[in-house]
Subunit: 123 residues, 2 copies
DNA sequence: CTAAACGCTCACATCGATGTCATGGGCAAG
DNA sequence: CTTGCCCATGACATCGATGTGAGCGTTTAG
């Protein structure tokens, strides 16, 4: 398939798909005229990239983790593991931050609701 | 206290504190010479702001939620509640995204470890 | 053959919180 | 008074993923 279809299937814009390739997250074969060609495996890969990007990972980290570079070299795999562990730690602490923020927010919501209930009583 | 001490106590840079004020997240009284003056309550407020910013909320949202505008107006409180509910929903779905990403990452880590174990066996 | 729809590359724009620098005033200790 | 440190404002820079548009080739349906 060409870039338009991959875009339609994944929801990633054509612009983003080209960017992913430029950053080394995605490889494509080219037709004789230079157009990018993808197969079904690429749909999955893009989905994974989207998952990671949505989690705030940088394309640089993703490039080091996702084995987009065909040949699974052992050295590369070891370095990838390092990055993965770092990212996992980062993810976990981000989740903790968000959870803390949500709790703070819940508290604010309570305070606010009470306030509104009281002013309603005052009427 | 002046801005330097508030900065030291909260870890927010002076630049950020001035930015928070400019965005309406923080109020300060001014000394006759124009310097910002804060009290202990401001430390707590800044901490809350940091919590929310770290959770990816925009300063715009925070400004609508945090009752920095002294007088707790009922209309304002109602609009704040709307924003709070939206932000809560957003937070929850972001947490879900991060959790999903972490699971995908765990899977990648497993695959990678197996691969390394196998290549080690090959030796 | 032609027109529409698609693809390519390059380049510039965007957003938001923060860093940094320039220029100048405020205040306390020597 | 001077030196050193803090503060004020304003302007410009940064980062990263994505949008947008120009200019030009390709593919496909009529």
């Amino acid at each position: 398939m060409r870039i338009g279809e991959l875009s339609a299937r994944t929801g990633a814009s054509r612009r983003s798909l080209r960017y992913y390739e430029q950053q080394g997250l995605l490889v494509s074969t080219r037709s004789p005229s230079g157009q990018r060609c993808y197969d079904d495996g690429h749909v999955q890969r893009v989905t994974l990239i989207q998952t990671f990007l949505a989690a705030g990972m940088s394309s640089r980290s993703i490039a080091q983790m996702v084995p987009c570079m065909s040949e699974p070299n052992a050295d590369r795999a070891r370095r990838a593991l390092t990055v993965m562990d770092q990212e996992r730690t980062r993810l976990t602490s981000t989740i903790d931050s968000l959870t803390a923020a949500r709790e703070a927010l819940d508290h604010l919501i309570d305070v606010n609701r009470s306030f509104l209930a009281n002013t309603a009583d005052d009427h």
